[in-house]
Symmetry: C2
Subunit: 415 residues, 2 copies
Amino acid sequence: MTTISVGMLGCGTVGSGVLTLLNRGDNQISESLGVHFNIKKIAVKHPDKKRGLNITKDLSFTGEIENVINDPSIQIVIEVMGTLDQAYKAIQQAITNGKSVITANKELIALKGPQLTKLAHDYHVDLYYEASVAGGIPILRVLNESLITDQITGLTGIVNGTSNFVLSAMKTDHSSYEESLKQAQSLGYAEANPIKDIEGIDAAYKLSILSQLAFGHSINLKQLKRKGIEGVTSNDINGAEVLGLTIKPAVIARQKDHELFTLVGPVAVYKQNPLANVNGVENSVLVTSTALGTTSYSGPGAGSEPTANSVMSDLLAVTKHILLEQIGTSFNKTTDDIGESSLMNLPLTYFLTLNSFTGDEAKISPENYEFLKQVVKVNHAYFCVTKLLTKEQKNELTSALANGVTEVHFYPILK
Amino acid sequence: MTTISVGMLGCGTVGSGVLTLLNRGDNQISESLGVHFNIKKIAVKHPDKKRGLNITKDLSFTGEIENVINDPSIQIVIEVMGTLDQAYKAIQQAITNGKSVITANKELIALKGPQLTKLAHDYHVDLYYEASVAGGIPILRVLNESLITDQITGLTGIVNGTSNFVLSAMKTDHSSYEESLKQAQSLGYAEANPIKDIEGIDAAYKLSILSQLAFGHSINLKQLKRKGIEGVTSNDINGAEVLGLTIKPAVIARQKDHELFTLVGPVAVYKQNPLANVNGVENSVLVTSTALGTTSYSGPGAGSEPTANSVMSDLLAVTKHILLEQIGTSFNKTTDDIGESSLMNLPLTYFLTLNSFTGDEAKISPENYEFLKQVVKVNHAYFCVTKLLTKEQKNELTSALANGVTEVHFYPILK
């Protein structure tokens, strides 16, 4: 029996989940891998705090991160404390100390993934982060391993459970955006300050991580145009339903030649698209590739055990590498010879709504109405433009429709 | 650069796909793994036949399987010829000759999986068969690797593209079973003799393979009660639609204590279940586990490139093991201390249809009609029993409804 010494940074929801799963799976892991994990030290802010962990083993808590990352006996560091700067420093140090690292920190990987990947490569250690995207779905492993001989051309996903819960509730319960958000908060699906979720920041992080693995390209988050869900009205939701569409918070990346076209924001999805039926806090990612066509992966996007299970998968992957003396085969390397552009620069079809529309068609100029009748399904205040519109045509149409007196919302359509 | 010598048995649809992908991915594989694959020999029935392969390399065909499996320089054998007895013998011989084996042969793995796994284990070689279930979806790898620390409790899937295409077409085009099957045949989705697909034999093989990995249990296919789709009528399809249900060809396995409850046959699926939207030849598997809850995996179930891509994934997995001198870590071992029973032995809810029903309620005895009104939605000839019925109650109800003059079809309901 080989003993692998593990250190942990943080012991919140995910950390406790990891300890629970390690405790529960101890015998099975020993049997199948011949390995026993020794959780040597756990760095937390308050080491003396009483924790309600249902663990049979003694655990050693410390207030100092350095006690974990500088302990020469620790081979693997699990980072689940979830800050940016502090985690970045700690992980850099752990890697240069020769330790493999597993992290669930999406912000960190989205922003510093390529740098950390390079560092891990230079120091011949592993860096895994399956838990950073879509908690319970092994999507990174699938992108990294099973699709290695295939060429990925596009990704479309629902990767933010909070946003998806809010829009799902608005549709199912016919409630307002504010009511649905409150419900999400009371159920623990949204934080008190939900800005990262509803403004698409969290989703953008995840798109960047997915893109690192799928296209070898880390998205420039500063330049990325993203849209949150806070502008989605009940009128939009209901109008979409009338036309057989569902509004969903999406992330999209499509590669065309050497350009990656991206979108983070709400889209209108046709019923037959699998994403239309991904509801509540569920996550789903559709992958389009040359050999396979479209495959889809769905499951819980967050939660203590699903996320912890992804950390455990990483832990076992790293452990196998240690046993094989083959450390240093982390997730794909990234290469950055690819341009970036908004998906909205491509011709798209759109679902448009006129908010505060009174039903008075005179607000739309006759020419535009004639145009609309030719290319769209018109249903009172809802318009479904089923012909591809260039960015310019779309802008022209929306300003003509608004005509100074109404607000036009537009959603790219996913078939 | 390491050269790995590969032999292939068979060169039909899947085999040609493998050669195409190997040819296309050659540079990327060399770059990322430092490996070059040498396809040394391909055993086929007619080695002199002209093949329209768009491959730059010279290929060496042979009429003798022995020339491949007994060639000492060949390290990996890919079996894509798809027979049972001949493939079993050839693979056994290849394994005892110390070669790792990749197969797409579902019949073989369903029936002889545990024996071959044991043999591969004894001879310290790899045995992989990702392509045998759900062509393009890496479901076996997911079951085997990512869920290792998790406990799988249930599997529900649509794993036969032909059956799913036929039932989808019956619903969408309002065509008969016969018309839909003919359409499937003309599109190449069903064979001239489609018995293995429509009678659920192919689906049962796949359930057995999934079950070997998910529960460590190979299903006794001789005792398994399965139902095909040939009895599904337009009346059933339409009636289901009226009640918000879709009839789908399913495989189900649920573990309860030490018993595995299985079903292979058509079921009625509620709209909100992800399987309701899996249409045409697409495959999908829902996995229920302790840590994750339900995750789902969907994609093309067949086709040259998707299936070949799964073979390629296996080839790279085996190659990594060869590079690491760590051959012998094939998919999970199977253990057989688990009982088997039909899912129909558990209380279930049912969708019932009365075929050749004339609308004359008098055919149902008054007592039964009273009973029905209490537990079901009655809609002419369609009944949705939303209360759990034991097997006995279900039998009693169906024979009472039939009353000697009509045919009752019943479908377990999936929520």
